[in-house]
Amino acid sequence: MSLKIYVPRDAAALAADAEKVAEAVLAEAKIRDVEVELIRNGSRGMLWLEPLVEIERDGIRHAFGPVAPGDVRALFDADWGDHALALGPTEEIAWFKRQTRLTFARVGVIDPLSLDAYEAHGGLKGLRRALGMTGAAMIDEMKESGLRGRGGAGFPTGIKWDTVRLAEASQKYIVANADEGDSGTFADRMLMEGDPFSLIEGMAIAGICVGATRGYIYLRSEYPEAIHVMNEAIRIARARGLLGPSVLGSDFAYDMEVRVGAGAYVCGEETSLLNSLEGKRGVVRAKPPLPAIEGFLGKPTVVNNIISLGTVPVIFERGAAHYRDFGLGRSRGTIPIQIAGNVKFGGLFETAFGTSLGALVDEIGGGTFSGRPVKAVQVGGPLGAYFPRSKFDTPFGYEEFDGEGGLIGHAGVVVFDDTADMLGMARFAMEFCAVESCGKCTPCRIGAVRGVETVDRIARGEVEAIPLLTDLCDTMTDGSLCALGGFTPYPVMSALRHFPDDFHANAKEAAE
């Protein structure tokens, strides 16, 4: 009887020596003359346990982790049973069990490059259903699902699609934004590495709905494993008739390719991304015209986040109502929250909107990795606000975070312990903006440089520069063309507002 063993190929597992673990499993199996079926799956998302190795017994998968290459022999000795690294059945692990996995249902479960496994787990049902629907009916389905842009802007996906559908043009495009540059986020990477066909299926549904026959995934160069898996998946999809002149034998044509970014954070902004895709400098475009009217090469273009597009198949598979019934207020469905930074149990936690920030950090995240008290939590990437413990009752939702002077962004939650210097973090936000500014608008290009200088003055004890910093942030907020300059004030001002002591540490005594 062959032994079915899963060793993830997700970058987070590879970065923790999963490749050597996989080699050790095969080597050990050979020595013992045990027949092993090794499956390289995506990650289950419990990243503190990576590499998390699973073994399947009687259809139930049992987890072991974190497994070092040197542990493999002892695990075989224990017959993959009673061992210090044994965690029990994977799906019974409390951290995993309390999630609602819709978008990430297959991630970590299947071999990401097996289209058969994808279909066996519900894949392509959504696309098959969509092929029998009119474009208008598909739009209704999307609108009813309540899905909003998961890149952070939260714009209703169905409305965006409808604008492109109704636009008249000789060519339309679907562009997937995989320029996931926000610190603390890795959901796009995990989906592309763990379930690439869901993104392909979602993009094909979008293409059929709006009448776009071509698509691009703009994928950041910092994600080599995702680039590799996505390219392989597209090749397989083409060979199996999922992509090409006749999608699944229908009258619809749709094909797509991966385009690799070149290390510019601002290209996550949709108009800058489109310029980059066209082979230009990644400079932001003024809106209007909206990309839905004049996008890639001036043609109507749907630009959606990876998670938005990757969620489309499950909406069509199970119906809009199933998705919509999760969530709170105007934030419908589930959100893959990425718990990161100085946290004990970090990883990808997909759940309905509405969980409080405190529950995410303390209960699910288990507090800090360092064991020290939590000082601040940055939500929504480098342009997101720092939240103090007093705001931990904020429920995870678009409007709820906006109401507290923050944003959920791409749903990254980065935890800091009490050693964090919030003035230093404010400086870093300005420095990052200066490094990554595309240079088109003055408040961002020059404001960020002046911001670094002003924070440095405050650090030297010139607290009279604080009103200047506030004023500068107002200018950047009101005058910047895109979110880079416009939102950099979120981390800066939240740090100043909630942690004023860090800005007064070196305050010079008033002149006597």
Partner: protein, 159 residues
Amino acid sequence: MPIPPAPADLEGRLDAILADHADLEGPLLPILHAVQAEWGYVPPEALPIIAKGLNISRAEVHGVVSFYHDFREAPAGRHMLKICRAEACQARGGQGIEAAAKARLGVDWHGTSKDGGVTLEPVYCLGLCATGPAMMLDGRVVARVDKTRLDALLAEVEA
């Protein structure tokens, strides 16, 4: 750093690269990636040839090359170490790793160690934010980096 001589058979290889990308919409970034994969940097001599091939100005090509952090205008060291500077890695002690790498290599960001062995670049997020500090050495990602791990990995490539 002295300007290196133009690579041998630059034109021949460039023509092939341009031909490979002739059917793409918006081909410039894929072309520049291919050029960098070939020579490790984008040789200045390549710019007019690319410009001519795409029927755009040299200034446009230069503008694109200089806009993106990934494209190098001069060769890097034999090895490339990218350390994540972003917030999530900072929260897990990333700055200590940055300092240790700079001290060991004797360089600041974008610098190459004296023997030409290792170039140090910052990177803003490798998507390994729950298991930082993270870095990438010659395209291979490494998480949970501490000083011992950093030293061991650098010793490996410097050997």
